[in-house]
Subunit: 146 residues, 2 copies
Amino acid sequence: MPTRSPALGFVDGLVQLSFLVQSVLAKAAARHDLTVPQVRLLGILRDREPGMVQLARYLGLDKSSVTGLVDRAERRGLVQRDADVDDGRGIRVSSTALGRQLTEQVSAEIGAQVVALGSSLSAADKRMLTRLVGQILTTQDSAPGP
Amino acid sequence: MPTRSPALGFVDGLVQLSFLVQSVLAKAAARHDLTVPQVRLLGILRDREPGMVQLARYLGLDKSSVTGLVDRAERRGLVQRDADVDDGRGIRVSSTALGRQLTEQVSAEIGAQVVALGSSLSAADKRMLTRLVGQILTTQDSAPGP
DNA sequence: TATTGTTATACTCTATAACTATA
DNA sequence: TATAGTTATAGAGTATAACAATA
């Protein structure tokens, strides 16, 4: 039961919504012993095999932070490092079969729960919201990845 | 310049938007040597003087996590602990003058930057988006605080 | 020299479990 | 006994600075 509804404005609405969505992500991740950054990592690796520097760019993190992120995922058998055949200094990070399987599970749960957030909206309202959000995202750009 | 725009759906749109808004929050906070949890703490204390347990409930954190959060804010002179006159076990956390001043600065910056996110939307579209977001938020509830 | 990746270090955030003091 | 708050401990996430190996 709602306690009260002060009719939020544009700013507070978007800020609160971001916390709501992030909490959905965090809880879905936690159910599989993951964290939001780990889920982002796995999401990026769905269709890419980047090096550490590229990965850092996708995630908006320092490369030294990505080392730890990949270390922990690798320790769990979710990703792997392979030598880059074109560059003796580089490596390629990719999902393992286990990692891909987990990614699909978590993504499905997140999808279902985010859809549920919009369950009070009509189909037309959902289309409208999707359009408006898309407009914001395409206007900005290099918004942090999936 | 946008690299490409694959026309995101409802789920990916909301997820990416949440990361975009969170990155606005994190950067605004960082400009004042704060973190997002610190900004949330200060936001809550704008109009409340809660105890640690209440604070933990507002933030959705364990009370032991809040101890550290308040410790660090107190060390910087942004908040203070005072004995609860009604309960010998309890304390009341409140913003200091410095904390309130910082809160207003950071809030103003966040507001301006979130408004800027919507700069490509017409006034009508902004109203529409605000309404749709508000509907999602009031439907759920006990969405994590300011 | 520049780039790729890792290491060393330090700090914030978070939780669990155990503890103290008060109710 | 139950509640308010802290402490001890552990681990994830992050950045900066320094480093090794390769380009």
